[in-house]
Each structure stands twice: as C-alpha cells, then as structure tokens.
Symmetry: D2
Subunit: 132 residues, 4 copies
C-alpha cells in the first residue's frame, strides 16, 4: 500500500505543534511516551489477537480502527524520537545500512533456507536481530 | 530534535525493496510483523527500564542503541502499515484531525487542570485515548 | 500442561527475598517493573514472531528459551503486583468473577457464533475485554 | 503486599475450566494468547503512562482498574504457559536458580555500585537480563 507523499520532518513539526498548543510537553518525557506507545501497540494487538493467521488479518469492519491504532503508534514514535534526541530519518538510514551488512542478499535469499534458521544464530549472537 | 528531510513514501519503498531483495514478503504477515514490533518495543524498554525519571532518560553510552531500537520500531511499523493496507501518511492526518476535535486547545491548555483528569473521562468513554 | 503445586504467596516471598538480598527494592518502582515486564514480553514475542500459525508455535530447540521468557514475565508480574499494592490472588478471583458475569456460558458457547463477533461489542463498550 | 494463599495449579485449572466451558480452546493458540497478553499489558501501561515517577504511581481512583489489568495479564500468562507446554511453577524455579548464579549477592549488593552499570555487561553478553 503506497503512502501519500509527506516529509517526515513536516510530520514531526505538526506533532510538536499539536503538543505545544496544549502545553503538553511537560507530560512528554521519553518514559511516559514509551508507556503510551506500549498502550497503543496493545490496542492494535487487541484487534488482531483472535484472528489466527486467517485472512483477512484485520477483522472486517475494523479496518479504520486498525489504521487509527497504527497512526497512534506512529505519532507516539515520532514524538518519542523528537523528545529523546533522535533524528529518526538518520537513525533509520543508519540502521538499514547495518541490516544490509548483516543480511547480505546472497546468503539470505531463496526458499530453500528457512528464515529463522538463518536468523537464529544472529539472534543468539547479538540479542538484537534485524527487523526487515 | 529535528529530523533530516525525507519523504515517508520513499522510506516505505526502501523498506519494501530490502524485504523483496531477500524474498521475505512470505514472512511479513501483519501478525508476524506486530509480534516483531513488540519485540523491538521491548528492547527499547530494556534500555530505560531502571532509569526512573532520572536525567538523562537514556543511560550514558546507550544513545546509539536507543536510536537503533527506535529505528527498528519505525521500520517495522512502516512495513506493518504497508502489508496491512494502511496508507500511514493519510491515516496519520485523519487521526490527528480526530485528536484536534477531541482535545480543543481552549479546554486542554493550561497548568491548572491536570492532564489525566481531563483525559480520564475520554479514556473511559472511548477506550481509545488520543496520543498527543 | 499441569503446573507443579506451589503456593502463589510462597512465590511472591521468594521473589521479594531475592530482590531484598541484593538491595534492589530501590529500583523496583511500578513503572520500572512494567517497562521491564514489557522487555520480557518482547523477548517472548521474538521467539514466535516468524512462526505464523505453523505447528509447533515455538521453534524446535527454543523450548527452554520460551519457558525462561514466560518465567521472566511471571516473576516481574509477581513483583509488580507486590510493589503496587495488589494482592494478585484476590485480584484474579475478583476479575474471573466479573468475566463469568460478562460471558455467560449459554451465550458464549458453541461454534456457530464467532468469538470476536460476540466479544466485539464488549470491547467497544468497555475498552476492557475479558481475557479468557 | 502479601497475596492470599492459593495453589498456582488450582488457578491454572480454574482458568482452563473457564475456557473449556465456553469452548474457547480453539482460539487459545500461543500466538493469539501472546497478542492478547500484550493488549492487557498495554491497558496497564495506559493507567500509569502520564504519572511520571510521581507518588502514587497509580492515579487515585484507578486502583481497582490497575488490579484488574494485572489480573488480566496474570490470567493470560497462566493460559499461555498451559497452552504452550510450560509448567510455570517449574520454569519459575529453574529461572530463579539461573538468576541466583548470575547475580551473586556479594557482587550485586550495596549502594556504591549502580544497578545498571552492574547489569549492563550481562545485558550485552546474553541479550537476556535477569528480571529481579
């Protein structure tokens, strides 16, 4: 699903303006925001928890709720990065570069090797598996 | 912390290309991705869990780990939206509009009213408090 | 899978003694413990995230890791209840009583009604769906 | 806060009976239960997210909600262990034994060493820090 074009920094500024207009920066410590983000991840989980791997993964009629929850997680993540000194654009680019080095296409492509068998040793070694 | 300029749709495409090059779409069901996202949120939580509200919230020397974890959550969220039919840019804009309607500045600004007292009834009524 | 017999209060005391011996009560605020619990839930999620609904749900060879993660979540939950003034035994009994009232067997048993269709309205109304 | 006496295996059986009476075992796959558990952890997080480290950690008037959320997490954890082949009593005892070996009192007690400095290397080495 393509996303509409939008600059990530514009989004950060819009979220910050929303909070500043309400004088909410005082509540937006990194730990508060992380707990709030967990709350929104939990709401997303509640939508799909009983679905098994059935199709569609999101229950019919809950599509807008699902999109709203992902938007909430996104908003809190933007705010959390902003308030904890992380340039999310740059952090993303650096992390994807690490992932490219860790998961070279030649070793990780193809249907004969199981994903988790390949990933398993990395998980064990680093405790921090790549995410894509 | 300002973010470097980057189009969110460009980021989505880069994440998708990374997965496609490795033939990983087969593993990227919405529920798998949500569980993976929970894993990354958990890693972020492990960094700040024993900090209390002390300053700085991220322990010295862990700043890059923290940025990496937020980048992981971000990458998985982008991928989760993409794979579950959500245009994240548009979902964000719609949700922020709802939040503006729910939290008018006149009622929610100012230090004399407690944030959670104001928000409390909304939480009870809707089960889905706004996030910023 | 039956559990070995053990009194829940004995477990609470053993967890408290472990922490007290190390003088760790100072770190065990409810919010710190909740973030730590989230970290352990995240580690459990990392074990099963790419499994789909395949059998077995826990990848072969990871059974002990899985049991360890559930034990970690359990330990932190016991400690979190203890440190935030909750008698978990009594809270459990009261909550199950509420669940019995909300989900009468006559209305919720049987294969012809879908679980989430029945549960859906409760979720909407209360924001707090029952858990079993 | 002491817990009322109750055998953990009795609790497991009561949770299983509740589910069986409603014919809900079909929905209680380990991944479904883990997502449901995440939902309940999220609800607990929503109660304390804006509290900072203020006292009391649970907002006044929300004590019963808080106890209910912890009870929900507990119930789902019991069910998750039961449905994924884990004897939680035994897993707990084994994991605490590992924690005793990893965190000897002599090295980890005392106020002069910071908790996270001591724990830091363990976290790095194992990816699986002990929880108490």
């Amino acid at each position: 699903m393509p996303f509409a074009d939008r600059n990530l920094e514009d989004i950060r500024r819009e979220v910050a303006a929303f909070a500043d207009e309400r004088d909410w920066a005082q509540f937006h410590s990194p730990r508060n925001l992380l707990l709030a983000l967990m709350g929104e991840v939990g709401e997303a989980a509640e939508i799909v928890r009983w679905q098994g791997d059935a199709q569609p993964p999101v229950p019919p009629g809950k599509e807008e709720d699902w999109a709203d929850e992902l938007a909430d997680v996104f908003t809190l993540l933007i705010r959390l990065a902003d308030r904890s000194g992380v340039d999310l654009t740059t952090a993303f680019a650096r992390k994807l570069q690490k992932a490219r080095a860790k998961y070279p296409v030649a070793a990780f492509k193809g249907s004969n090797r199981k994903y988790d068998e390949v990933e398993g040793p990395e998980v064990r070694k680093s405790g921090s598996p790549e995410v894509v």
